[in-house]
Every structure is written in C-alpha cells, then in structure tokens.
Amino acid sequence: MTTKQKRTLGRIAAAALLCLAAALLPARGVWRPLLFAAAYLTVGYDVLYSAARNILHGQVFDEKFLMSVATLGALALREYPEAAAVMLFYQIGEWFQGIAVGRSRRSIAALMDIAPETAVVLREGRELEVSPDEVEVGEILVVRPGERIALDGVVLEGSSSVDTAALTGESLPADKAEGDRVVSGTINLTGLLKIRAESVYEDSTVARILELVENSQQKKAKVESFITRFARWYTPCVVGGALLLALIPPLLFSQSWSVWIERALIFLVVSCPCALVVSVPLSFFGGIGGASREGILIKGANDLEALAGVDTVVFDKTGTLTRGSFAVDAVHPGRIGAEELLDIAAAAESGSRHPVAESIVAAHGGDIDRSRVGEVTELAGMGLRAVVDGQLFYVGNAALMRKVGADYHDCHLPGTIIHISREAEYLGHIVVNDQLKPDAAQAVAALKALGVKRTVMLSGDMPRVAEAAAAQLGIDEVHAGLLPAQKVERVEEMLKSGAKLAFVGDGINDAPVLTRADVGIAMGAMGSDAAIESADVVLMDDKPSRLPLALRLARRTMRIVRENIAFALGVKAVILLLGALGVANMWFAVFGDVGVLILAVLNAMRCLRKIS
C-alpha cells in the first residue's frame, strides 16, 4: 500500500464510523444531517476539489465530476445517508481498484523477476562484481551454484545443471558442460561455471523477454479498442439520459421534480465505465503475464486474441514436430546377420560427422575398433566407399548401388535408406529417420480436443516420409516436397479460404511464413533472435505440448474478458432501466458502479492463475 492509499483507507474508516454514528445515535434536528455531512466531506473532499478543478480544465464527463453532481444532488434532496454512502463506496471502489491493480502489476512483475541483478566477471585475474550491462562481449563470467546467469554465453569451464524453469516453464534442469550454450535468466544449480559472454545485456535473452512483455501492452486487442471507443460514448449518453429524465417528466407531464431528479442521479452514479476500462486490459495483462511464466511469450493483446480464435494449425515438420536429429528405425539385412550389417555400416561411417552417419554409429552402440577400418573415400551425393577388415564396401543411397551394379531393392518403410554392398554384392539396408518428438502426437490430439478443425503439416521432405510422420501424429493434411516460398503460398491459400491460421515453426528459416500467418508461433526460441523478431507467440522450449497450453491460456483470457463485458454492461443496463422506472434506488446504483468494478477486477485476476 502506498502512503496515499493508507491515508485514503484512514479517511474511509473515519467516514464509515461517522455514518454509523449518524445512523445509530439518537441524533435529532440538525445533528443527523451534520454527522452525515461530516462523513461526506471527510471521505469526499478531494473528489469535490478535483471535480471543480477539472471543470475549469473543460473535463465535463469526468467521473469525479459526475460523482460530485450525484452526491450534491442527493444532499439537496435531503437524502443525507445516500449522499454519504455513495461517496464512501465510490472511494472504497477507487481504493480497491488501486490495490488490486497494484497487486496484479506486482505479481506479474514477480513472474518477470528473471533479471539478474549483478554479474561476476574475471578482469585481470580478479573476480569483480558489476552490473550486467557493464559486461562486454567476450568477457569471462564466473557463476556459482545458486546464482542467476547474467548473460547469454558459452561454457568455458566446469559442468553443472541449470534451472530454466523461469524461462521455459520446464521444471527438469538441463545439464550443461564445456562448449554448451547457456542462456541469461537461468539459474546455475550445482557446479561452478565459467562462461564467455556472447552478447551484451541489452541483447540477451532475458532483456528481450522483459522488453517483450512490457511492450505487449502497446499492441491492443480489437475488443480493447472497442471498449475504449464505447467508454467515450457511454458516459455522455448516460449523462444525456439523466438530463432528459430530470427535465422531461416534470416539465411536460408535471410530475414531481424531486422524484425524477433522484432517478437522474442514479444514472450519474452508474455513468462511469470504469469496470470495463480497468478489467479488460487487466485481463490481457494477466493472461500475457501468466503465459510468460509457462515459457509462452505472447507479443501483444491482439496476438492473444488471434490465438484464442485459431481454427487451423499448420506445422512445419523438421525441428517442430521432429527433433531434427536422425535415428535408426530398422535394419534389413540380405545375406548376413542384422548385427553384422550394422557393424559394417557403423565402422565405415565411424569417421563421418554427417547426422545420418552419427545415427548409425549411435545405433551400433558398442566400441568400434578403428584399426579395422582402412581407406575411406567419400563419394559426393552418394555415400562412402570404405575398406573394413580388408574388404571393400559401399555404403550409401540407391544411386551408389546402381553405380557399383549391386542388385539392391527399395524398402517398404519411409525414411532415408542406407544401402550396403560388398563390392557389387548387395548386403541389405538400414532405415534412418528424423525422430518425432515424444509429445508431438499428444499435442496434436490435444489441439483437436480443443476444437481445432484442421491440422496441416508442411515439409520440404519427401512425400512418403512426411505422410508417414503425419499419419503417426494424426495430422489431417500433408503438403510435402515444398520449397520455403511454396510454404508461404500454401499458407496464403488457406488464409484465402477463410482459415484462422496459426503457423508453428522453429523460427530458423520460416520467418516469411511466421509473419504471413494470423498467428506466427516460433518454438525452441531460447537464444534465437530471428524467431523472437518474426513470431507473434514465442515458445521458449521446443515442446509441441506447450501449444495446446498456449491455446487454453489465450481462450481463458478471452472468456474472462467477455464475461466481464457482459456482466458489467448487463448490470448497468438493468440498473439504468430499473432506475428510470423508479424501482432501483441509490444503493443499487452504488453496487452498479463499485460492486461491478470490484467483481470485474477479481474476475480479471483469474487470468494470472496456472492452468492445471
């Protein structure tokens, strides 16, 4: 609580006591009105003062001015308790709003409490504690267990596990050793690390995330702009209505002035659209803050709104649904045993750094005696010619087999096929595939359960490989063999047919598609600047299962926004109607103003909560 809020609270308490005294004590004559007036002034003098001042500034439809007119009107009609109560509740509402907004701002700030305060650098052999933004690229950072890594960098010395939960929402720590990249904002858990800084603080992951969440407030959702526009019209209209209500029945139908003026005052009390103007942005702010805790960065309220309405999800295959790393799926030997075939292939490939070669060596598992391997020649675009155990083998694709005249045959399994022959004698083949991420199928199923109508996979891969992966994942549609530009074309076609489309990619070479889609979602973005730039939603880790979570968070936020709009407008409309008919009194009106505001703010705060 700020001092200003504490003072207001004191005044509210004093005024409440005065009101209580006025109501309960057997005060007679002028004492009763005097007590209420004292309460009224105690709690409302600043409202009256700023109302007067704002009038001089030409702010007629200021809520303080309207409150002042409403309460002074009530005093004039000798409704002392009502006047004091309206002012009292108005101040309680303002006070509560300040507290609630302050608290949600702080809790979002706490979520964003990932900024390192200091960094320890090695300068001239000594450790120096400095502010992170004083560290230059190439300097060596010393990070002890329990400390936050201040800048993005590469581990030079030491090994440790690193807690990335604050950035990715992933609770399992990641192991880091020499040569690994580490990211600012993560926490070093177990061992001392020496890290070479690869970026200045301003460009570090943590600084970018913080900037992104702060700036998300500048990109407003359609519903937000609607509320702002609506608010600009609502107050003048209600005040106009109040004027007509006060003047027309008494003038034209010679009704009692006091009855209709009282009804008009009720209009003035509910004329502030505060509940909407506060709760809608608060919901978006909470939703975006809550998502960031899960490692889901949403760049603006408009992106959150678009995400909630998505009915088509288009995936890039490699690196998004698959790991982008190969593994052996099957070994199909011809003349020799499976183990022997794998052994020959692994020995031949043991010197290669190609991902396919590495996957074969990894599948072999055991030690490979390099002395068995003689001369190895790489045949560009085809494979290898290798001498193993004194015999000549060819390891490679179908073109290589044709070249050496081996009687090979294709495989019924999709994937990259590595054929092996001894001279021209065909020995069999090994099937290697890009591995699906373990949670990819589950993510697709979850999206469908959430009502996503269409899931599509775009891939530059061979159709057979892409179709097999899609079938395994339960994806509806596959477009394979695409060049990057053709991916954009496909997405544009779908957009033209009216799809509300999210594109999910790894952000490395699909920036044009990311920007073209209604919502561009980049995955595994920790440390990748390009992805953060071009995407609307950034998933910090590379798990497809974050995607349904992002969708649920966005939808919940939108639902809460709609609830608040419907609730606030509904209650105000009912009170206006009942007030005009003379059924609702001042007390109803106070609820319509302050009560609705408080309930809407409390509802908006739900956006911050975790989804189980």
Partner: protein, 73 residues
C-alpha cells in the same frame, strides 16, 4: 523517435484512455500509448519536434489528471 516515460499516481484507467486519445491528437505524434497497467507513457513522434511534443503531452496529462506526474529522464 520512440521513447517511454514512467507515470506516477496514474489512478484511473478511464483517465489513461482519455490521455492517450488527447496525446494522439497532438501535432507531430505518430503513435502514443498510455498504459494503466505498466504506468507508462510511450510516445512515437518526429525527431525534430520530439521535445515540443513531450511538453504538450505532459500538459495533456495534467489537464486530465492533475495528480499524475510524468517522470522525464
């Protein structure tokens, strides 16, 4: 040029919306946002008139909510 200023004692959301509308109408302002949530004012305006625009924006804010202060750095 685009610059962000902190606002102190910005108490009402409706006022923030009014300030934003008023500042956006100022000459030379390309885009302005007043965020009640982050209590920040962001102004994007032509470079050569930036200081002038900021001064006018501060006046707009004072007119809508006299208690609210802009922290000029």
């Amino acid at each position: 040029m685009k610059k962000t200023f902190k606002l102190e004692d910005l108490d009402c959301a409706n006022c923030a919306a009014k300030m934003e509308a008023a500042i956006n109408k100022l000459d030379g302002v390309r885009k302005a946002t007043v965020s009640f949530m982050t209590q920040k004012l962001t102004i994007e305006a032509d470079d050569d008139r930036f200081d002038e625009v900021v001064k006018a924006a501060v006046k707009c804010i004072a007119r809508v909510e006299p208690d609210c202060r802009v922290i000029l750095k």
